[in-house]
């Protein structure tokens, strides 16, 4: 099963987070329509992998949204849209959907994130958890037409479109990046700046 359970620090066990990565997705249009029609069976965060730098970058957005869910301070309809919005550096929701969300005709590689918040601790038992994970994976696999790929930094790096990322996070002409010659270091620095931009969203 290519659906990974993400264990984040400072997230209680009642909040379970799952993620999967698909390359060459062919039915973006269908998935996009489900989101637009608010089909409750398709409560997923669909993230365009081309504007994601790394796992850490993704996790930062997931954490921020999950934290808002736990606090009850969501500003979008649900935690899944909040994940997409959390990737933005400003509060423009439409902009965030366009840049990080799924776009028919443009999105090729897709990250799918599912957050399940159980109301009681009884539901957190390992056996039921395995069941939900399986059920979620079945549903995703059934409807997302693409190649399941491990959600690793190496795979994500292959799909990142840097010109886009640099534009979205205003990384062009940043002095601290320009003085770095090493590409690896530059990417790490860009990742930090992106996460910082997200943390300071709307300030």
């Amino acid at each position: 099963m290519a659906l990974e359970k993400l264990n984040l620090e400072h997230i209680p066990p009642t909040c379970q987070i799952y993620a999967a990565f698909f390359r060459d997705v062919s039915n973006c249009e269908f998935l996009h329509t489900q989101l637009l029609s608010r089909n409750s069976e398709f409560e997923y965060a669909f993230i365009d992998a081309s504007s994601v730098i790394s796992r850490l970058h993704l996790l930062a957005a997931v954490y921020s949204a999950a934290n808002m869910l736990l606090d009850g301070t969501l500003r979008t309809p649900n935690v899944h849209s909040e994940i997409v919005v959390s990737l933005n550096t400003n509060n423009n929701i439409a902009d965030a959907y366009r840049r990080w969300g799924i776009t028919p005709g443009k999105t090729k590689d897709l990250i799918v994130v599912k957050v399940v918040l159980s109301s009681s601790t009884a539901q957190v038992e390992a056996s039921t958890q395995a069941q939900t994970q399986e059920a979620i994976w079945d549903h995703i696999q059934q409807h997302v037409k693409g190649t399941p790929t491990p959600l690793t930094d190496a795979e994500l790096a292959q799909t990142t479109e840097w010109p886009k990322v640099r534009k979205y996070y205003r990384l062009n002409g940043v002095p601290s990046l320009e003085r770095l010659a090493d590409e690896q270091e530059q990417r790490q620095q860009s990742e930090s700046l992106a996460i910082m931009g997200m943390a300071l969203r709307g300030l």
């Binding site: 984040l8 620090e9 400072h10 997230i11 209680p12 066990p13 850490l56 996790l59 930062a60 954490y63 921020s64 934290n67 736990l70 606090d71 301070t73 940043v174 002095p175 601290s176 003085r179 930090s192 700046l193 996460i195 910082m196 931009g197 943390a199 300071l200 300030l203």
Partner: protein
């Protein structure tokens, strides 16, 4: 003990959720507390700064002040980071809840490093012995001056410059402190200078504010490291060479020395 501490100072809600290693309280200031904890993954240590609600303030005012102060600190850190000034990166924050997660800076405070180098002998008036090789310490002073120069160049004044608010981050592969004899002593003042605690920082381009920043450090330095006081000139020199507009700041510093930190309230 820990339970009693918790009862007296409840941690922010975000720290009540489980993590691989329990958060530890590092220090407590007048306005906030600093915890060491983890961000996202267990191998990513971070510093969490928490400004608890103040019971003596009106709740609405309190919320607004806390939010404004945290936000301004974060903005200053981002600005510095973009310009390449050595400061911790911001990882995550919730200004309404009063917390901010920042990069954990390894190493020791500059204050500890300098004192280790000087040898912890509080003897009165004991200057650094003549002829002793003080190159490593002079070098550190230069790095501090360069860091402050870079900070002021970006239009930020720190507001509370002391040797405790600077860290010596070990250079990769190297190790900070520890060891004995001369080598350990030298190592105590090695590492990259990282400026921390921007809780009182403001964005300002005025010579006056910059001069006061330097003055505060000068006074703090003289009282924490009296035996290295004369090396402060080295710091100012390196400040001058990294920051183009330094000369007018240093002229202003003369004025500030004459009158103290506060501008005259007369007139």
């Amino acid at each position: 003990m820990a339970a009693a501490d918790d009862a007296q100072f409840p941690p922010p809600k975000v720290l009540t959720y489980p993590a691989s290693t329990p958060p530890t309280l590092i220090t407590q200031g007048a306005e906030g507390r600093l915890y060491k904890t983890t961000h996202l993954t267990r191998d990513r240590p971070c510093a969490l700064k928490y400004r608890p609600p103040k019971p003596y303030r009106h709740p609405i005012l309190d919320a607004r002040l806390t939010k404004a102060r945290l936000s301004s600190e974060a903005k200053v850190l981002e600005r510095c980071w973009r310009e390449g000034v050595p400061v911790p990166a911001v990882y995550a924050m919730d200004p309404a809840a009063g917390w901010m997660m920042m990069e954990w800076i390894e190493g020791i405070p500059v204050r500890v490093g300098i004192n280790q180098w000087l040898g912890e002998r509080p003897e009165e008036g004991a200057e650094i012995p003549e002829g002793a090789d003080e190159t490593p310490l002079v070098d550190l002073m230069k790095r501090i001056g360069a860091a402050i120069g870079a900070l002021h160049k970006t239009g930020v004044v720190h507001g509370d410059l002391t040797t405790s608010n600077m860290m010596l981050r070990p250079v990769q592969g190297g190790q900070a402190n520890g060891g004995a004899g001369n080598e350990g002593k030298t190592r105590a003042v090695e590492g990259d200078v990282v400026l921390i605690d921007f809780g009182l920082a403001t964005q300002s381009m005025s010579d006056e504010d910059r001069a006061v920043d330097l003055y505060v450090l000068e006074r703090a330095f003289a009282s924490t490291h009296p035996r290295a006081e004369r090396l402060f000139a080295t710091l100012l020199e390196s400040y001058k060479s990294t920051f183009k507009k330094a000369s007018s700041v240093l002229i202003k510093l003369e004025d500030v020395r004459m009158r103290g930190r506060k501008r005259s309230m007369l007139g």
